[in-house]
Symmetry: C2
């Protein structure tokens, strides 16, 4: 029976026809923000768009023209479900920069590394399974896990990344509760949103824990090459071949508009990933792959990554110095790479409740709650320094300081009256946010 | 417990970790064929690759260069999960050629229409659900349906497409068995693989049946604009807005290498499709979308479709005349558009068993069994005329005639001995193939 036949208030006549998993597909908080933050007068510290204008367009135009001249019909045609062989060889060179030795036969090119996340989830997640991830974690990974009816269990982090002892405790508790843990999802380098990096010792320890408990590690590494002072420790995949699916992408080191990323998987899993990729898109874009392959073959791509590093380093420094100047009472992480700073507000400020007031002051950020599946994160905000210029960043932080100072004034005014929570719209934490400082 | 701990013969240490649905992801027969047929000495009548060389490369290069000059940073950036607004408007013009009136707000751009099939299936199919489709049907649609643990129920066709009376019977039987029918998947125009077109009267009748039984219609129309003599009847979506998800693509009218297609969906479903698209790939390729949008705005794209029509018409005629000359004892469809001829072999030839002998004679085709989920199709083969030249097509059909004549000689030799089936490796039909002639 459909909603049509019921005294219903739902306007979708197909309401009763959706699969159970469709209930897990909800709009993320970040998504709603994009609409708000796209107004030109708003300084957005919310999005995660790379600054593609730092890529000389000639490099891209040359690569395109060469591809069309040299192999136009191939670029315009369907390709292999696994990806262009020459590009898969070049991807080995990219991964070698983070210590990974692999065979091109185990690389599967995907429509951004986002689609690799989707394919891995489709292959592995049954309803009721658990994915362990850092808390906080990447929003759209959690959307995918939930869309396959899996639960996300957040393990806390500190300034060295996920805490191994906490991971052990969570596994013990989940197993005692009879839960099936399918994946350990981690962003070890320049974490989104926390901005911290998992130490080498912890990488080894977490791999050992995963192996001991027969849990497949899903290592998501979009930012690894975008370090500021010194490289992150080598990838977890560099020491563990059979227990890790590694995800990489050209979205941050080249451009997201081509939608080209990859998975490096244990051999047997790779075969199934290719089948899943073929079912989903037949083949990733031949055109995008060949343009990237030509770019890697002819341009100084390592120097281009250096250029991006310089751009993002300058922006991070602008953000941290503005935070120090205007908001010294806050705590924040000091990322050595990537796109994000994770800020902890003074209690009892509520990042989600405060957002409309921030937008009114023409600055946008992402509230910490977006990065948890369990209501945590109200005391945190993620600030992105990737896209706005240093001047815009300084302006944005000044505006944010106006908002936060206003909230804190209100806090003082209501201090001791018992009406503070109501005034600020806060709710109680159920567990502490990660100890990032 | 994993396979590791068992006395196993499976080489995949993660064997026991896959989701149940992963069992449905099997390599299709067509996939295995691609490897065989890619040897240059083999004339392949097996694949479905469009003849992209009929597209003047200058048109594509000009569009790319213009995009990079006019809006390079946008082309290189992430975009909206629903797709570029200007392109969605242009897609309305494309669909208007087949009688569709719609709002650009209900169009969702996808990574080829294949990915729209995947997203719709993810949104609607629970394990055990049924998808009704023509028998035979598009291979990789069935792979997707099965990957979401749905069963495919094949309704027979004749030369006017799916038979409405048969559809009614199948629905009655499925409902009596307590099954949930979620989708009616159809390729009404220039069907893959059958080459037939659903008549206008039947389009209306099948829409009425679907409405009566509250079944959502999934209209897949990759070939509609590639007619030879006269257009196909208007799209089913042109008369029914709320009950149809319509899928279109630029893969056949422009080029598949851009991986750009679309879904036109009832409004409430469209919202969920966008969420599913964002979860899967964040956004479809901005670059591909802008290049196509520029091409549609500046090139004579309707004349280009005319050029493709001429190319494919000539190839179809070459194929049918070669079939008439060399294999007059066979039956085949006479498509008025699209890429495929569906051939019925004389009993008891077995298209699957015969394939290795055909490849030995340097001609490849797709056995009919690939297009059924139930073992049917052994008496059929799909011949593609889209990619090979007319000369290659004639050569391929001559080689095919050598193979079939050899099989029929064998048949005569063994006639009356009772050993025929064993000699040819056939199995009995469990139900008749579609009556296409």
């Amino acid at each position: 029976m459909t909603e049509n036949n019921q005294p219903g208030n739902n306007l979708d006549p197909w309401y009763s026809h959706y699969a159970e998993r469709a209930a897990g597909l909800r709009a993320s908080e970040v998504r709603a923000l994009f609409a708000v933050a796209s107004r030109p007068e708003v300084v957005s510290l919310a999005g995660g768009m790379p600054f593609v204008s730092a890529l000389p367009q000639d490099l891209v135009i040359n690569a395109m023209d060469q591809v069309m001249v040299k192999q136009g019909p191939t670029a315009l045609q369907y390709g292999s479900g696994q990806g262009v062989p020459a590009l898969r060889e070049q991807i080995l060179e990219v991964m070698a920069l983070e210590g990974i030795q692999a065979n091109a036969d185990d690389v599967v090119v995907t429509t951004g590394s986002q689609h690799a996340l989707e394919l891995v989830s489709k292959l592995f997640l049954d309803p009721g399974d658990v994915v362990i991830s850092e808390g906080p974690s990447y929003v759209t990974a959690m959307v995918i896990f939930r869309s396959y009816q899996a639960d996300v269990d957040h393990v806390p982090m500190d300034e060295h990344g996920m805490i191994p002892e906490a991971l052990r405790e969570h596994i013990t508790r989940l197993k005692a509760a009879g839960r099936t843990i399918k994946l350990l999802y981690t962003i070890p380098s320049f974490h989104n949103p926390a901005g911290v990096t998992l130490s080498w010792e912890r990488r080894l320890e977490i791999l050992a824990i995963a192996k001991e408990h027969d849990i497949l590690v899903l290592e998501d590494n979009p930012y690894g090459l975008l370090y500021f002072d010194k490289p992150a420790p080598d990838a977890m995949r560099s020491v563990e071949e059979d227990g890790v699916i590694y995800l990489g992408t050209f979205s941050k080191t080249l451009a997201p508009g081509f939608r080209t990323g990859w998975a490096l998987a244990p051999h047997a899993i790779r075969e199934k990933l290719v089948l899943a990729n073929e079912a989903a898109v037949l083949s990733p874009s031949s055109f995008s792959q060949l343009v990237i392959s030509e770019y890697l073959a002819t341009a100084d791509w390592k120097e281009q990554i250096n250029t991006f590093r310089g751009v993002y380093r300058e922006r991070k420094e602008a953000m941290l110095s503005a935070l120090g100047e205007h908001l010294p009472q806050l705590e924040w992480t000091n990322p050595n790479g990537g796109f994000y700073v994770w800020v902890t507000l003074p209690e009892p400020l509520d990042s989600k409740a405060m957002l409309p007031r921030a937008v009114k002051e023409l600055v946008a950020y992402t509230p910490g709650t977006a990065f948890y599946g369990d209501g945590n994160g109200r005391q945190n905000i993620r600030l992105s320094f990737c896209y706005p210029t240093p001047d815009q960043i300084r302006l944005g932080i000044r505006r944010l300081a106006t908002v936060i100072d206003g909230e804190l004034d209100l806090l003082e005014t209501f201090a001791g009256t018992g009406k503070l929570g109501a005034a600020l719209g806060t709710t109680q934490f159920t567990s502490p946010p990660p100890n990032v400082s």
